[in-house]
């Protein structure tokens, strides 16, 4: 089967599942259960039990806290959509439906990614101006995942890291330095590989202009945010996972400005969400894009601006997610509440970590 046909069919399948499970039959518990069964069986067949299980590890804490919030709604007899107080039974049943909806969205995307590999994109009839993003993207993602392991290895062998009893700030800084090393590596790779790609295009594809180095610098930033969001998923009580995505967004915005911050924040985070928590992806695209935009206003300003704009940016992120999740019918107020605490922690860590990286950058050539 040609790549184009395979890609089109897989995309059609995904969109159909999403339309049915997330929109048309959103409130039908029976249909959600049916989808859950079908998707689970398909994934078990395609991926095997071990991989299927590991892909659920990350969403489990979030689902647990979400269920607890619905239980709380029942205990507090929160009003339902018709305005009447809801019982525990009502909210638990409603909650189960929403939890299944969430899981089904994850499984649907996992199915899609099982059918399609990155290399299929290379077979598409894209012009070189677009294809270069696919080629460089693949190189940078693979480089990032490989490098991070080596970086943490080398840093663990720095003598100060071998002392026992390190305080939390010390351990946080150590993690941060690994992320910083990744940033350095990827910045260099995107520059070297990107300019090489531009050279090939100029020489071998006459008539295609390459523009400035902005495209590969921005792509490097996008990959950095995606990887920073995905590589350190530490599940925390309260749901979701703690990651260095916002640290990266704050840093990139301060270092390179609003456009880079918005692109890296919005697209980079949304890609990570598609791979882990797809239901959040549309909100993420907008909210984290705006976060990057706002933080980036600190790029050209003075000391106070470099403090206030990132602060405003992360505050916007927390508020944006809360409102967005509350408003989206597939998520709703339970999700908004379950996620609020996590996002506040993310925001604080992002602000502190991002600014720490920005200070450190004075000692480096990025």
């Amino acid at each position: 089967m040609s790549s184009q046909i395979k890609l089109s069919l897989s995309l059609l399948l995904l969109l159909t599942i999403l339309a049915l499970a997330l929109v048309v039959f959103m409130d039908s518990l029976v249909i959600q259960l049916a989808f859950f069964g079908a998707l689970t069986l398909s994934l078990l067949a395609l991926r095997g039990f071990k991989r299927w299980l590991s892909s659920h590890r990350l969403i489990l804490p979030f689902l647990i806290s979400l269920s607890l919030v619905y239980l709380l709604f029942g205990i507090l007899r929160i009003n339902t959509q018709d305005g009447n107080p809801g019982s525990i039974a009502y909210w638990l049943q409603f909650g189960l439906g929403r939890v299944l909806l969430f899981v089904n969205s994850v499984l649907a995307f996992q199915l899609f990614f099982s059918l399609i590999s990155f290399d299929e994109l290379l077979n598409l009839p894209l012009k070189i101006g677009l294809m270069k993003y696919v080629i460089l993207g693949k190189i940078l993602f693979s480089n990032a995942f490989n490098s991070f392991g080596d970086i943490t290895f080398h840093q663990s062998l720095i003598p100060s890291q071998q002392r026992l009893k390190q305080s939390f700030p010390q351990r946080f800084k150590a993690r941060l330095s690994a992320v910083l090393a990744l940033l350095l590596t990827l910045s260099r790779e995107s520059r070297v590989q990107g300019s090489q790609i531009d050279n090939r295009i100029t020489a071998c594809h006459r008539g295609t202009s390459v523009g400035t180095g902005q495209w590969y610098q921005n792509l490097g930033f996008i990959v950095l945010v995606t990887v920073a969001t995905m590589i350190i998923p530490i599940p925390i009580p309260g749901g979701g996972f703690f990651n260095f995505g916002d640290v990266m967004i704050v840093f990139i915005a301060l270092h390179a400005g609003s456009k880079a911050g918005a692109l890296a924040g919005g697209i980079g985070s949304a890609i990570a969400d598609l791979l882990l928590f797809p239901l959040f992806a549309p909100i993420t695209l907008i909210v984290k894009g705006l976060e990057g935009l706002l933080c980036g206003l600190g790029h050209k300003s003075s000391g106070l601006g470099r403090f206030l704009f990132p602060l405003a940016g992360v505050a916007l992120m927390v508020g944006g997610y809360f409102l967005g999740e509350w408003a989206l019918p597939q998520l709703g107020k339970a999700v908004a509440i379950a996620d609020l605490g996590v996002n506040i922690v993310q925001g604080v860590v992002g602000f502190v970590g991002g600014r720490a990286l920005f200070e450190a950058a004075k000692y480096l050539d990025i």
């Binding site: 077979n123 294809m131 071998c204």
Partner: protein, 99 residues
């Protein structure tokens, strides 16, 4: 491998020539799905040379080419360049420092 074919703008004829030439030199048959990481350093240099020589580029500049090849491969590459490099400008440069 496919990425290289795309970047160097090799059409299907040129891709076939590439695969044939590479196989005749190394006894390894590559295809578009091949992962280049399994190749040795010298073989990777060969891939780059062949791609450049078969591409539509009108000028090729090799940096540190001879430095990165052992004597056997050096002769093979010289042969390739003389056969496939006609009609375009080919230049070389080598860095002075080692490592």
């Amino acid at each position: 491998m496919l990425e290289e074919f795309i970047l160097y703008n090799l059409d299907s004829t040129q891709r076939s020539v590439f695969i044939e030439e590479f196989a005749s030199i190394t006894d390894k048959t590559l295809n578009p799905k091949s992962d280049l990481d399994i190749l040795s350093g010298g073989q990777k240099v060969l891939v780059m040379c062949l791609c450049a020589l078969l591409s539509p580029a009108s000028a090729i500049h090799f940096v540190n080419l001879w430095h990165s090849l052992d004597p056997t491969n050096r002769n093979l590459v010289k042969n390739l360049i003389s056969r496939l490099g006609t009609g375009r400008q080919i230049t070389y440069s080598e860095d002075k420092h080692d490592n």
